[in-house]
């Protein structure tokens, strides 16, 4: 993000520190949560939710995605769609096997 004024940048430094704290806290939280006595489904959901929040913070602030150009967002949106496809469609095929 070029074209920022000095003020803007100084402000964003505060944001970065905030994000860092959030990431650190969430890391501790996710580790702590793994010691809770949860079912696989619950812990899976919890762990992935936290990871997604952390991921969003990194991508959104450190990588400036929140304010990025639409061209890049479009490329990433497409990628994300295919990511979901490759992650889950094979698995769905696997659950729908004619095999017993």
């Amino acid at each position: 993000m070029s074209g920022h004024s000095v003020e803007d940048i100084k402000k964003s430094v505060k944001v970065y520190i905030g994000v860092f704290t959030a990431l650190a806290v969430l890391t501790v939280v996710t580790v702590a949560a793994s010691y809770l006595d949860l079912s696989f489904g619950e812990s899976f959901f919890l762990a992935l939710t936290i990871a997604s929040i952390k991921g969003t913070l990194v991508a959104g602030y450190f990588m400036h995605l929140f304010t990025e150009r639409t061209a890049i967002l479009a490329v990433l949106g497409l990628t994300f769609f295919f990511l979901i496809t490759i992650m889950f469609l094979p698995y769905m095929a696997f659950t729908d096997q004619a095999a017993i």
Binding site: T79, F82, I86, A93, D96, Q97
Partner: protein
């Protein structure tokens, strides 16, 4: 550093022709290397066709390649088959269509001085070159080159001879090359379009390359991941693709187990289906250019072609499991993939239809380039149409892994893509070399190729319907259900060798015209796109244009009613 000085610097031979960063030189490097590989892949196939037509008879002239008996052994046949597929697709057609034509003409058609990242471009070529060398090394390791098909299905590929490891290393290099290339192409097209060259004014060839770039960019990485996993299986004894409890030739396979052979198939076809559109889209792009130019009228339904090809690109990511219907797929998921497969055939119909309709009202010039482009249309039509029964699980029961499939895809890749590439060579040769290819030889080349190529692939449908499996060393000779159609093997093989002879006028033409061909003008075909109208007479200078052109109109403004000549260049104000 905005000096014009650098163009005047004397560059050493190495810098200029070997480690060049000029997209045109790199394009030529790609082109020549790819042609050599195509030729080589073709030679492998001509040898296989001997074995198919005359099983277990010593091969004349080349028999020494297979040891004293002169007979091709089954493991050799399998090697040649796998390498033929790999070489044709990954070392031949894609580098020629994307590496050579894409590299050379995308910057020229969008009015850019070069690709966005010239050094990356060079790296991508050398990765490809290295990948090609590694693939060739496979032939010399113990046990011969990879012999598990170009699809490399484990467990067979996991337990295959060393050649498979070499194949995997080669693939990793080729994938890296494609990734670097696609980043470059996409960036170039998005960033370096000349002033006024809006999206709907792009020549269709550029659109095709853009979509292709995205396919390569997003579909290849999962295969790279799969390649790494298979390497781990082979080198470190993991069992990603090996289930527990395998017994190979009487020995219990000593691995941890727990893997799945189907995982590989998903990851492979996630690439390999988009890959087939990588083979066809640039070909369609070339055909569109040649058609518009030689019909002397705008491409009919340009917008619908553009939308159809982007839609095609998108859909190609979610049809892959139509290659896996016979792996025991359940009703729901197969319904999904059958539906997407039927949907993806519609944009192809749209594109082909638009191209046919473009002919109406035309003033058709029949030169060699145009003949090949026209030949492409029905040939792709046959290939595409025979894809439909394969896309339905129920009919695929009978047709899967038979010669019907071989017939289907060769119609799209050989008389389809290869013809389009020939069209591209005849069309752009004058721009690349400043010389014109001989038309008579070109027409001989076309007609002979057209006849013999159908002689090879048409009978395959018959054999496929009869149920002859592919990848059979003896071409089905031992099967009763093959007896009635077995004689076709000789017909096909003879056609293949004759097709080989038919390439001689072409190769001669290339060399002869390069040396002493008729000189070409800078806009030899009276075309409208920038590479013809604004780039100076060939050979082109390092940065392509003296001044960066500006664009005022669509790509195919031929025979504009009020204009004084029958073509109106894009850059004409």
């Amino acid at each position: 550093m905005s000096g014009h000085t650098e163009t005047h610097q004397e560059e050493s031979f190495w810098r200029k022709y070997i480690f060049s960063i000029d997209h045109k030189i790199i394009g030529l490097q790609y082109g020549l290397t790819a042609l050599v590989f195509l030729f080589f892949g073709f030679c492998l196939m001509m040898m296989m066709r001997w074995q198919l037509a005359y099983p277990e008879q010593p091969m004349p002239w080349f028999g020494w390649l297979f040891g004293e008996s002169g007979i091709m052994l089954p493991e050799m046949y399998n090697s040649l088959g796998a390498m033929h597929g790999t070489i044709m697709i990954f070392l031949g057609v894609v580098p020629l269509a994307v590496g050579a034509f894409g590299n050379y003409f995308v910057p020229l058609q969008i009015g850019a001085p070069d690709m966005a990242f010239p050094k990356l471009n060079m790296a991508s070529y050398w990765c490809y070159f290295a990948g090609g060398i590694v693939m060739m090394v496979g032939f010399f390791v113990p046990g011969g080159a990879a012999n598990s098909g170009w699809t490399s299905y484990p467990p067979l590929a996991d337990i295959a001879t060393t050649g498979q490891t070499v194949w995997l290393f080669g693939m990793v290099l080729l994938i890296t090359s494609s990734l670097l290339g696609s980043i470059n192409t996409i960036t170039t097209i998005i960033q370096l379009r000349a002033k006024g060259l809006t999206w709907m004014r792009l020549p269709f060839f550029v659109w095709a390359q853009l979509v292709t770039g995205f396919l390569l960019l997003l579909a290849f990485p999962p295969l790279e991941a799969a390649g790494v996993l298979q390497l781990m299986d082979r080198l470190l004894g993991t069992s990603f693709f090996l289930p527990s409890g395998l017994v190979v030739s009487g020995e219990i396979l000593n691995v941890s187990g727990g893997g799945s052979p189907l995982l590989w198939q998903h990851m492979f076809w996630f690439l390999a289906h988009p890959e087939v559109y990588v083979l066809i889209l640039p070909a369609m792009g070339i055909v569109a250019e040649v058609l518009a130019n030689n019909t002397r009228k705008p491409l009919w339904g340009y917008k619908s072609i553009v939308y159809a090809s982007t839609f095609l690109g998108f859909m190609s990511f979610i049809v892959w499991a139509h290659h896996m219907f016979m792996t025991g797929m359940g009703a729901t998921i197969s319904a999904f993939f059958q539906t997407t497969t039927m949907i993806i055939s519609v944009p192809s119909v749209v594109i082909l239809t638009a191209m046919f309709i473009s002919l109406w009202g035309a003033s058709i010039r029949y030169n060699s380039a145009m003949l090949f482009a026209l030949g492409f249309l029905p040939m792709f039509g046959i290939g595409g149409l025979t894809g439909l029964p394969l896309g339905i699980a129920a009919s695929d029961i009978h047709l899967h892994d038979t010669y019907y499939v071989i017939g289907h895809f060769h119609y799209v890749v050989a008389p389809g893509t290869i013809f389009a590439l020939f069209a591209g060579i005849y069309y752009w040769f004058p721009k690349m070399t400043g010389k014109v290819l001989n038309e008579t030889l070109g027409k001989i080349h076309f007609w002979l190729s057209m006849i013999f190529i159908n002689g090879i692939f048409m009978p395959m449908f018959v054999q496929g319907l009869a149920g002859i499996s592919r990848r059979l060393w003896d071409g089905g000779a031992s099967y009763a259900h093959a007896t009635e159609t077995l004689w076709l093997n000789e017909v096909m093989s003879a056609s293949a060798w004759l097709l080989g002879l038919a390439q001689i006028p072409f190769i001669y033409n290339l060399i002869k015209s390069m040396k002493s061909g008729e000189k070409a003008e800078s806009n030899h075909w009276q075309a409208t796109t920038l590479e013809w109208t604004d780039a100076p007479s060939p050979p082109l200078p390092h940065r392509n244009f003296e001044i960066i052109p500006e664009v005022y109109r669509g790509p195919y403004e031929y025979s504009v009613p009020s204009a004084d000549k029958d073509f109106t260049p894009q850059s004409e104000a």
